[in-house]
């Protein structure tokens, strides 16, 4: 096939000018695009307003489709469960019996904890929950890992708020629009979470790798203290995430870096909980906080 002739304007002056003008527009537009990217380097959430329209339009459709296909993500699990169902049943029953004692112990510890906290007059941790919503879509074609949440600014969601599922941490809010919000997932390469090992408090930092796993670097000097099977929870340092949210389990240790898999899979969880930023939840005057002292402090500050 020979090249189609339409691109050659020939000797027609008007067509020549029109073609030239189209290239001028294209090059200028490309330069503007590059400029927008450069602006985004310094202010990644700067053009969030442009996304609002798109996310608000696509939200109803995503919600509808989500309610139709809910459960598709776990089809493979259901099928795999039929494989060796009998022996699995026996081992699971044994495990349940073993776990029952531990649950009773844990309940006792929780009760004791509650009592001690009341003694110390700490803020009730339950007040940090803001709302429960669903993840409805994600940036499936991009190298960044964002998920779209079916709740936004009008529901009280603010950028920076932690998002978690019952199984563990999901991520934090990145951009909000009136009825939806973008969640920066735990596995995004720019999401850094301060964590600690659950059993002995070794501090570390978890960074996403963008492929569904996280990279864990210990903050202690010396050799890598992590072994496969170690459970990592948030440490509460930095004031964003409240402590003791399960984050990941270590699967491989290599040199100074350990690799972990998040405990909560955003594709499987049904609903996620948006929490208040830990620092705000702690410093917020809760119902437990004594009123008298605050009033005094207010009087002291006010002229």
């Amino acid at each position: 096939m020979a090249r189609p002739p339409s691109r050659r304007p020939g000797i027609n002056r008007r067509a020549q000018y029109s073609l030239f003008a189209s290239y001028v527009v294209a090059v200028a537009g490309a330069a503007i695009g590059l400029l927008l990217v450069v602006v985004a380097m310094f202010d990644p959430t700067g053009f969030a307003a442009l996304r609002i329209a798109a996310s608000e339009i696509s939200r109803p459709m995503s919600v509808t489709m989500k309610s139709m296909v809910s459960g598709v993500g776990s089809v493979d699990e259901v099928l795999a469960a039929y494989w060796r169902a009998g022996s699995q049943n026996v081992s699971l029953r044994r495990q349940v019996e073993a776990d029952r004692n531990r649950i009773i112990e844990a309940k006792a510890v929780a009760q004791e904890n509650l009592r001690l906290k009341k003694l110390l007059k700490l803020v009730d941790e339950d007040s940090s929950d803001l709302l429960t919503a669903r993840l409805i879509a994600s940036s499936a074609s991009s190298a960044r890992r964002f998920a779209r949440l079916n709740a936004g600014r009008w529901q009280g969601v603010r950028p920076g708020m932690p998002v978690r599922a019952p199984e563990g941490l999901i991520g934090r809010i990145h951009i909000t629009s009136p009825n939806s919000a973008d969640v920066l997932l735990l596995t995004d390469t720019s999401n850094i979470v301060p964590v600690r090992r659950a059993n002995d408090n070794i501090p570390a930092i978890s960074t996403g790798l963008g492929d569904g796993s996280v990279e864990i670097r210990a903050l202690t000097a010396g050799r890598n203290p992590f072994k496969p099977g170690d459970l990592l929870v948030t440490s509460g340092i930095g004031g964003v995430y409240q402590p003791n949210i399960p984050v990941a389990v270590v699967v491989r240790a290599q040199g100074e870096i350990a690799y972990g898999v998040p405990l909560a899979n955003p594709a499987r969880v049904d609903a996620v909980v948006v929490e208040r930023i830990f620092e705000e939840a702690v410093t917020r005057p809760g119902p437990v906080a004594p009123v008298g002292e605050e009033a005094q402090a207010g009087n002291a500050v006010a002229p």
């Binding site: 096939m1 020979a2 090249r3 189609p4 339409s6 691109r7 073609l19 189209s22 290239y23 527009v25 294209a26 090059v27 537009g29 490309a30 503007i32 695009g33 590059l34 400029l35 927008l36 990217v37 602006v39 985004a40 380097m41 990644p44 053009f47 442009l50 996304r51 798109a54 696509s58 995503s62 489709m65 989500k66 296909v69 993840l135 409805i136 879509a137 994600s138 940036s139 499936a140 074609s141 991009s142 190298a143 960044r144 890992r145 964002f146 998920a147 973008d182 596995t187 995004d188 390469t189 720019s190 960074t207 996403g208 790798l209 963008g210 492929d211 569904g212 899979n265 955003p266 594709a267």
Partner: protein
Amino acid sequence: MIDPHLHHVPRLGRYPSRFRLAGTPVATVMLGSFLTALPVIAQTAILPPFGLLILLSWRLLRPELWRAWIGLPLGLFDDMMSGQPIGSAMFLWTVALIGIDWIEHRMVWRSYRQDWLIAALAIIFCISGGLFFARITGGGSVRFILVTPQIVWTILLFPFVVRQCARIDRWRVMA
């Protein structure tokens, strides 16, 4: 039995509306960009950039349809739908279209295979460029190996998408 293809034969004196002629390609590209609204929570970049694929298909199928600046509005829409920084697809798509124009000026004889090669180059350029932009706008150290599977199956998907575009094109030009 009537041949089903005969449904598309234009009737005498009738032409497709301007809206259908100009709007169909734009609408299909936007629909491709819109696929990220599917309720899939991806753990890695798995979905091929369908907006880009359909844009390249139309461009290579119908060179006279668009000027290079069409990459700007369509790229902006794609940026709003994907998680990429605004301006990324605007720049990359427009540069890819200008590049295709440039190649067309030099290549006299062209067939379907050359089209596929051109599309493959454009796909590699756009996806790795998008990765670079994601990296410099606060994405941290995203590795290139993360998007190589996406690049491979986007290139492999091109013939299929081009066929679908040709099918839509047949409907588009027939009244």
